[in-house]
Symmetry: C2
Subunit: 623 residues, 2 copies
Amino acid sequence: MTEPLTRDELLAVELAELGQQLRVDAVRSSSAAGSGHPTSSMSAADLMAVLLTRHLRYDFADPRGPRNDHLIFSKGHASPLLYAMLKAAGAISDEELLSYRKSGSRLEGHPTPRLPWVDVATGSLGQGLPIAVGLAMAGRYLDHQPFRTWVLCGDSELAEGSMWEAFEQAAVSALDNLTAIIDVNRLGQRGPTRHGWDTGAYAQRLRAFGWHTIEIDGHDVTQIDAAYAEAAATVGRPAAVIARTKKGRGVAAVEDQEGKHGKPLPDPDEAIHELGGPRELQVHVPLPERAERPAPAEPAQPALPRYELADEVATRTAFGEALAALADVRPDVVILDGEVSDSTRTQAVAEQHPERFFEFYIAEQQMIAAAVGMQIRGWVPFAATFAAFLTRAYDFIRMAAVSRARLCLAGSHAGVAIGPDGPSQMGLEDLAMLRAVHGSTVLYPCDANQTASLTAAMADRQGISYLRTTRGSTPVIYGPDEDFPVGGSRVLESSGSDQVTIVAAGVTVPEALQAARRLAAQGIWARVIDLYTIKPADAPTLRAAARETGAILTVEDHWPEGGLGDAVLEALADDGGPLPVIRKLAVREMPGSATPAEQLAAAGIDADAITTAAAELAQAGRT
Amino acid sequence: MTEPLTRDELLAVELAELGQQLRVDAVRSSSAAGSGHPTSSMSAADLMAVLLTRHLRYDFADPRGPRNDHLIFSKGHASPLLYAMLKAAGAISDEELLSYRKSGSRLEGHPTPRLPWVDVATGSLGQGLPIAVGLAMAGRYLDHQPFRTWVLCGDSELAEGSMWEAFEQAAVSALDNLTAIIDVNRLGQRGPTRHGWDTGAYAQRLRAFGWHTIEIDGHDVTQIDAAYAEAAATVGRPAAVIARTKKGRGVAAVEDQEGKHGKPLPDPDEAIHELGGPRELQVHVPLPERAERPAPAEPAQPALPRYELADEVATRTAFGEALAALADVRPDVVILDGEVSDSTRTQAVAEQHPERFFEFYIAEQQMIAAAVGMQIRGWVPFAATFAAFLTRAYDFIRMAAVSRARLCLAGSHAGVAIGPDGPSQMGLEDLAMLRAVHGSTVLYPCDANQTASLTAAMADRQGISYLRTTRGSTPVIYGPDEDFPVGGSRVLESSGSDQVTIVAAGVTVPEALQAARRLAAQGIWARVIDLYTIKPADAPTLRAAARETGAILTVEDHWPEGGLGDAVLEALADDGGPLPVIRKLAVREMPGSATPAEQLAAAGIDADAITTAAAELAQAGRT
């Protein structure tokens, strides 16, 4: 005679059963797909079974509910596990589960927000936790909502520095609404991880960074349940559940073995049998408290700063002042800094709206990731640093596009025009980098009023917008009431008989205007276009100029590759007709230190160089 | 009657005097320049005075001496301090010191290897220590030389995740030949740092990562001296000297004050007076043991792998096999992995030459930084990961170009051609990113023999070379003895009456060839160019094609911006004459999961799409 199971024992059996179902479904979907990561899913199946059944507060019928918890799969390759959870929660059908990785399916190889229950795309390791930090900061400091953010991390990804930026930020921000679940399955892609099953190695590092740590057996559902409860009860600091697990758990052919990463199981039928066969458990995921969705903010027009014609103002200053004006009327605008707010000029906003200003110190990856996290909750993040240092976060920006995120980025100190600080501080590849982001908008204003207008426009733009600003002062050439639609350009000089077109943006616009005056004195008529939108470039205006003047000179404070010149070429090429004579002026040699004027001259992008090149082109266009 | 000073007391006075001289010279040079970072120099002056006089083993007359210690200013903005040290060591004159930040001076705003005593460019914070890890790894595991690597770090830069990648790697690699000197001056650019003067906060984190830590008063030369001795005597792990200092130390007008970052002192004469006036101390820097410079390796021809025509081989596989062959005959070739060696195929080399294979786990920034460090010592580093994940290290690649470093980078899994894994794993911006690196070489082979040839060529290339490889198999279309010079291209199809040119590379070459056959069946003659060198592109061949066929179609597995199409446009534009009709086929929509063939079709870059577009272009070119 056996004793009846206690209530807790019954629960443990049910949870273990759900874990097996998640494994079976991960095996099934990846086998149907012929690819995927079942073994990385199987190690975390018990961790997720307990979370889904007992701790996650989430209304699958209302994925944007303001009090829903958030769950981020930082180890995005464990997507079969996530999709198995969605099936268990009744969010997707078994048929859809088996569409995994097939053309047209929402169930991509790595999770993306094509699924309404996925906040962000993951799959580039080391990003989920930093994004979750942004979510948890939003919950604590912006939304003031009691949701919890859960992140499933791999052990391999703890090698990424971005994870340690996140651990540091989370602890300093006292994010006790954040729980990291670390699936220590000891095996990376090509072999053992650095620390193997030494969960203590991770725990000692995390504790030194200010986290509460809980080390458990990640296949013991009772330990898991208790660990989550302990994590949720931890006050004043974030908690990490560090779980020792086995990759491929439950199937002898793959369990804890090297060489089994990222491929379907060799004999799926046998594996499913070994796991106890398919199950059809449905989980009633705990619901969050009901809450009213906050009313969307009323659209309001900012009282943008106004600059007087012929004044000299740095565009970075105009950006900061316009952003402050925007933040005054847009309660959804938040500002993120990488310890350079005095240089990027977001300091003005920090003083006016400290509750919406977030300092990330010199951690650009965490800054961008937090912006991605905050926009999930409807905030409109402006993140600013030197244009050069945005290169530090390129993987995060790239992935933000996959996440369909809405980010406003600003890069200051663009180009050789910064002067004496030298090439390490010069953004000379930022236009190329940001143009090559799917669906991006790339703006490069030349004067203060234009900058103010474009800064305001960014807040209403979908996708990833980038504004490039200049360190030094440039003359105000536009009045404060002029309109600068995104995608437009301005023809600044034109006659009925232009022989050449000079296309400039930002710091080269004043140089181009000066060149045009000198050319006119030589009897050469030059059209000058201010291409303040680098992407999408104003193709009609450029094509008209090509047709009408027959020769195009582009001038940019950037390497020759991927910037303004390439944008112009692309716009002209897409026209379908023959192209005019085109020449690009750009920075071709490694700069050193010098004054801004010396730098522009040395790079061959100042008024002198433009005058000479445009005169040659006008001549060539005539012949 | 005062007692005479002891020998130690006398030494302390001399060291303190040198510290003051370094401060005075930092004040003088930045005042002469009108910009720079004197206050960040002054905090570390005593730390560097003791190092230069008592601990650094360095022959300034022979900066490439194999047993010289290395000194990296990770806080590169403290360049006035470095230059003051060079003057004190007799390496530069006072006149040159005062040329700081002026046009043409080697003394740039941030250090670069234009100075022979500077190994690498710094100025993007968080890079010096990871590079130093590479140097120390070379010393310990490759050179077997007893030099020590000293790194001066700022406290602000400890917020960068890359520093924690470096702390982790250094401890795991037991780099007791590496000493980090952390200048905790408590003030960042815009205000206090996260941890202020809490040196214990840094120490506890570093200890958790496996470092030996020594906390001192960074203005007490006796403590500094003892700390360096303790660091050098530490066995089995790296040591960090965590020094509490004052920014602007010694000048009341700026000492320990906010708002004094990155600008000359307000009253330099008064400051110099307060610091005790100029001094002309000359330091006899301790010399390293004499050592023979190792003889340069004899050039040897690798026995490259040979692939049979019409076989199907992935270019990533050919890369790995060619690299193994190269490593067999080139003892200077080293390989660096980001935990994907099974995917990038460098695993083959790992097995053959484990002593020259370095695993960095998933820490791409540290991987690239270590490559930069190793090449300082003459090694030829090949670093490989997925093309997509090189975006993680863009700032390091950008700075490596400023360092005039020689790197061989390989990015696998390029483009939508990877198939079902989805966009997070697809390199779709790598060509844009690598083209926009000064002096870079960008290679994109289409078949295995071409890949092998280009892999070997990279090892002899200066600057930063990038090889893009494909996940799936592609047909071998070239024989194993063909030559593929860097900067060249191949005309694969051509008749006397070509009506359109298709420019392809990598995975689109077989598609273009198939399209050409279909076009021929329709009576349309298409020239097909394999542009295996994206940068520098083969302008003469492209221009001849433009002239002779009048219409160019480019096809690439990459976003439309900055890649093959833009490279072709640039080459044609630079010709100075009118351009032909040009159209770019590229990936324009965000991909999902699908088979490789479905992906190419969906992106409109497969044989079908090429056929249609080329036929239209041929028509347009005729009209």
